[in-house]
Subunit: 335 residues, 2 copies
């Protein structure tokens, strides 16, 4: 299995991607990595990686698409960027998967215009796995498509369903539609239009899921437009942080609490780890013709290694093929 | 000060509203209550309230608009319901404020069609005060308007600003627009259209607020469409519940944690109370011609008393007048 890794992407590049590559190679003996970026910046960082060096292929990619430029223009003009080179190598099956912690917009644009969409998919979507106390649920879309049409949401269901089948080994993932009420007639124009279409889609649609039940293991795949999804993703982070801060403050307010805080430290650490979605690795970009994982921009080496592992699971789980099958079934039902 | 209270509204009616009325009357010597509902159901519950009985005026309102019927039809046909009678009494200044834990739709429809809107306000909005660890912020709209236009959001800013000035005594509340990025060009079509209009609105607009900063005291008034607002409101409840559950579970997993849990109980109780938005009372309905407070459907007596107190603050703070002034300023700037 060969993964293409953008060594120049993310806040901590190239250190974090290179460290992540080395960690992943040491963990997975069957892994090979195409490491792309500015060679003079990458090469010195490989000094202590003699043990895995033979499984690293360096790819010269001197250009970088930054967060400050137009992603579409970047993908069009910067042909020597890791994003463009990697997407083309994935398209041509020179590699099995693609991982980047760089500009989300560039990964999206590269996926759309260089790698290409799975037939029938109108909009690829970003879909992080998020903790719900018991396990994980897939949130799709979390920000790639801020203004959505109902057909796209129906397709997000196909993609999310495929991911949970292929990567998580679920037989029949529960697909829910995020809404402000449980009844089918509730919601804004978009979700009201989406609901009846999802009832006829080739997956196990369980109906509307209210926001208060999202982290209550109500569904395995939660579908929404990218604006709502991004709100949910970021708000989860915010509320968890505020709540942990309040607990800390309240515990420090009296001696009893202080004592309890010291004793309970390991328990708190476990909760923090369970709620930390960067531990999962990154968000897959679903709907394109290949396994693409977008790692967090702030990823450290370990988070990059996790994203690589996640991308490998996507390859092993044949997620792209399952989505392709699902899209064919959807087209057949609509015909 | 006289508040009209719907004695038939909410899951625990008429007990909870009657208990809440009695609690509030005992707390506020200047308060009088018009208690409306089925008289034979209410009267027995007043047996132990001789001390405040003289400040209660019973209003015969035998009809109830339930959650299961169309609110607009309900308001149109059930003229003997507390909602309709109360809104008309508020319009005619027979009472100073209106409180109900009944059907949200009926309160909205009653406010729109019986009480009437403040000139210039296109859509009244529901705006709960929510905890942010430090104090509270006002979320507007939280579900009254699921599909919004940018002008409505601009007006929500006027209403939220007025509430924080009148009720919370703030000189210059910070009004933020909930968005998926901090930069002005970020967002979906609606917020992109709203941003420049808010820059010219007569309040202190501080720009976009990302969801991760909502509970981080980033703004005093947070404006969004009612679909997003409802997601945020309910998700806050859900995440807090999930997180507290996880902490409890992790603490029970070892002896250290169990000991800490017992010791830290008071601290946890304080956090739970601070995060409990029902403690605030209810959500004001802003933009109508009077002080209207919608209490939680699940309110107990104490929560109803809190909602009455909140409604009284709205009257004392002249919130309706401040909104009226704001709408005039907005119209002048747009002219």
């Amino acid at each position: 299995m060969r993964i293409f890794l953008d060594a120049m992407g993310g806040d901590n590049a190239p250190q974090a991607p290179v460290e992540g590559a080395i960690e992943a190679l040491r963990r997975f003996p069957n892994l090979e990595i195409s490491l792309a970026g500015k060679l003079d910046a990458i090469t010195p960082l490989l000094a202590d990686a003699e043990d895995v060096r033979s499984r690293i292929t360096l790819v010269d990619a001197p250009e970088v698409i930054t967060n400050d430029e137009s992603p579409v223009m970047g993908v069009r003009t910067k042909k020597q960027s890791a994003t463009v080179i990697g997407m083309l190598q994935l398209r041509d099956q020179q590699v099995d998967g693609f991982v980047s912690a760089g500009s989300t917009g560039a990964v999206l644009a590269g996926g759309m215009f260089r790698l290409g969409r799975i037939p029938g998919v109108e909009r690829p979507a970003l879909a992080p796995l998020l903790p719900n106390g018991k396990g994980h649920f897939l949130l799709i879309d979390c920000g790639a498509n801020v203004d959505c049409q109902s057909d796209w949401l129906v397709q997000f269901g196909i993609m999310g369903n495929a991911y949970m089948k292929g990567v998580m080994g679920m037989q029949e993932p529960r697909v829910g539609l995020i809404n402000i009420g449980a009844e089918s007639e509730k919601g804004n124009k978009l979700v009201k239009e989406t609901y009846p279409k999802m009832e006829n889609a080739p997956y196990h649609f369980i109906g509307n899921v209210e926001a208060r039940d999202i982290t209550g293991d109500a569904a395995d795949v939660l579908v929404c437009d990218g604006f709502s999804g991004n709100l949910i993703l970021k708000f989860m982070e915010g509320v968890a942080g505020t709540l942990m801060g309040m607990i800390k403050k309240e515990m420090m307010a009296d001696t009893r609490g202080k004592v309890a805080g010291v004793i309970a430290k390991p328990a708190f650490r476990r909760v923090k780890k369970a709620m930390d979605y960067t531990e999962v690795g990154g968000a897959p970009l679903l709907g394109v013709n290949g396994a693409v994982t977008k790692a967090h921009g702030s990823s450290n080496g370990h988070a990059i290694a996790c994203a690589i592992a996640q991308c490998m699971k996507m390859v092993d789980g044949h997620v792209v093929d399952i989505i392709r099958d699902g899209m064919e079934k959807l087209a057949a039902e609509e015909a």
